[in-house]
Subunit: 417 residues, 2 copies
């Protein structure tokens, strides 16, 4: 792999950005099909390179769970290729028209969708992100500069080479996909400050990465990820439904950002709900951290919760529980400790449902449904690049549309002011 600097990668991406932006839907889809085919055809090569990363991980004492995230086998590679093929079916977004109108002076204005340009993505260990993120960006007409973690370096180099070869094989420039060949912190910092060439930077990783980006980046950033999500069970709730929603939010996949971390329970139903909830969560040995009122109901199987428990993303089989007086106290708690990701109320009260949906400041606010649905696929976007927890540009699951910007096309017959 050629040892280009981050600056050189930026210049190369910028140089071909207009080619990809102008590429026909067919040209982009041909490139995606070629990538999917090549991933299958070169599966052995990927597994060989991935093995190097796995051997290093073993030597460095990486946990088995982390090693599993790193692993690529034939079935996982087929899954990645299938994900790329699904993108081909998605409707073209570049050139679509958000709105069009005619001004009194006869000017016709069209607000159209165009690619963002060059997107930088900094991500951590999972090598499937390399392909998922790059191909989604490409489908929306964007060039991409990837900077993966050192744990997956050999895998990422191999996957990037395969994508570049495939793109070139259908006549598009290979430089629409590039990987930073240096996994030092310095290369990440350079990417964060590559204002001359990058239109946007999307960090995908833990709080440490997100904070480093917030402090250092001069490039416009879309923050993704952190989710301290709550379920509030109102007095009027269907308690069986509440148990289903909390159990699903906590145990279906505890390590993800839309998992539930704290349950807030109306005091009028706590004595009835808590034993039901505990019985269900015991199936997954969920540890409860509760306030005094919760301990009063369930006894000392509940660990006393402290301030940290309200703020923590456990990302594990642990759940904080607090008894509240009403929907207002629940909303105040969420305003204080939430991360504006996904919040849920279980209720039969129209008034409280509306109050909660209006008053809670989050990307996704649920009435009577699991927070686990905050996901591009579940929303029907076909794919997602991440879940934005900021308010600028995109909020919530980001699909193809969120990887574009607008261009106004104005047509007249010589109008002047």
């Amino acid at each position: 792999m050629e040892q280009l600097t981050v600056q050189e990668l930026g210049a190369r991406a910028k140089a071909v950005a207009n080619v990809l932006a102008a590429a026909s839907p067919k040209a982009k889809n041909d490139a995606l099909a070629a990538i999917a085919d090549a991933l299958i055809a070169r599966t052995d090569e990927i597994i060989t390179e991935n093995k190097k990363d796995l051997d290093n991980a073993e030597q460095n004492g990486m946990s088995k769970a982390m090693q599993d995230r790193l692993l690529l086998n034939a079935s996982r590679i087929a899954g990645i290729a299938e994900g790329v093929r699904k993108l081909i079916q998605l409707e073209e977004v570049v050139g679509s028209v958000d709105a069009g109108w005619v001004r009194p002076n006869g000017l016709r204005i069209q607000k159209t969708r165009v690619p963002l340009g060059v997107i930088g993505i900094i991500f951590e260990s999972r090598p499937n992100v390399t392909v998922d993120a790059a191909t989604l960006c490409m489908k929306a007409g964007n060039c991409v500069i990837l900077r993966g973690g050192k744990e997956a370096f050999h895998s990422n180099v191999c996957l990037t080479e395969i994508m570049r070869d495939a793109v070139a094989s259908v006549g598009l420039p290979a430089d629409v996909v590039q990987l930073v060949p240096d996994t030092s912190r310095e290369s990440a910092n350079q990417l964060m400050r590559l204002s001359e060439y990058l239109d946007v930077l999307i960090p995908r990783g833990g709080a440490g990465l997100i904070n480093a980006v917030a402090q250092n980046a001069t490039v416009p950033v879309i923050k993704t990820g952190v989710g301290n999500c709550h379920v509030f069970v109102d007095e009027s709730a269907d308690l069986c439904m509440a148990v289903d929603i909390i159990d699903n939010g906590k145990t279906q996949r505890p390590s993800v950002c839309n998992a539930v971390e704290t349950v807030l329970i109306h005091r009028g139903i706590a004595a009835k709900l808590l034993p039901m909830l505990k019985a269900r969560l015991d199936n997954h040995n969920v540890t409860l951290h509760g306030d005094d009122a919760a301990i009063e109901v369930l006894g000392d199987c509940v660990i006393p919760a402290n301030e940290d428990d309200w703020a923590l993303e456990y990302l594990d089989y642990q759940l904080a529980v607090k008894i509240v007086a009403d929907v207002d106290e629940a909303m105040a708690h969420i305003a204080r400790y939430g991360t504006n990701h996904s919040e849920c109320i279980v209720t039969k009260s129209l008034e409280n449902a509306e109050k909660f949906q209006r008053g809670v400041d989050a990307a996704a606010v649920y009435v009577n449904a699991s927070t686990r649905f905050t996901d591009g696929g579940e929303f029907g976007f076909g794919a997602e690049i991440g879940i934005s927890t900021q308010k600028l540009h995109a909020r919530g699951p980001m699909g193809l549309m969120e990887l574009t910007t607008v261009k106004y096309l104005i047509t007249g017959e010589g109008q002047v002011r």
Copy 2:
């Protein structure tokens, strides 16, 4: 005026942001009406405070043109109040629904508009911005922290007090509008890094301010302003139309970002167009900076253009002129020197019109109309906070809609994954 720190201002804004976000359209419009009334009722007070700024300006040797920008008289104050009243008529955006759909599992998803939250605005001398920007942000449900230039300090303090009193008089918290009481560079830097409280920062000013923000801000930023705009006159153009469009773009208001700075002329018509253009621009004594080919046609009334002329925003009665071989050379020049603001082609060729609109990377791309139309009012937005030259969040004129973000409201009957 109370001497609060930037941190304290941020905390106060954040504390009332949910009140304004939840305010009814009527409550917000009542506040706007109260502001407009108060501006008229307290005109003498504004003029007295403005006089202090004008006296300082005179003593400091500020140019007459700049002093004029600073001046507030009864007629200008009435104009500002009228601008506020116009906002009342604009349709409510908070709570409007961008899209709604039902998933196969029965979940109903609504993508709704909500305020951004707390907006910081750093601006330079013109005191009318204080009211224009604050009231537009408020109409969209946002709290605002203003940081104006020291030249207009007394005017800004007075205008802010009037707005705060008016807002409080109708029962909304005065802290929805605040002014940073310190015009040092340090206070601007603090605002740029107030991530804890600010949802977005909008700098309105020259390249120096925009660059300082790009380098220092940790808060999400929307850049506005810089416009090196071009008109390309194609071989097939109606030459009279071309002269009208260039004249309008250059001379109707040369100091603004959507004014024309460089004209690119197809070589097939240069000998005919240039004398017509010069004759018209002579009415405003426009100085031409041309390449060799332009000088060959017009002689030494044209100053030889150098590299700087292609990159410069003159913002004055000066115009760069370059002869090009075709639309491709024009587009390459624009790609190299343009600032992605507003670009125009004058042509009768459908092929070249489409090529230009598709291929030029700018917020607004015109066929046969003046670049001066890149403006919220001219686009029909009713008002604007500025013209974004970045690709993230908003691009081109930013009206009420661009001062909002989205919130997904999801409603179910107990759905889980």
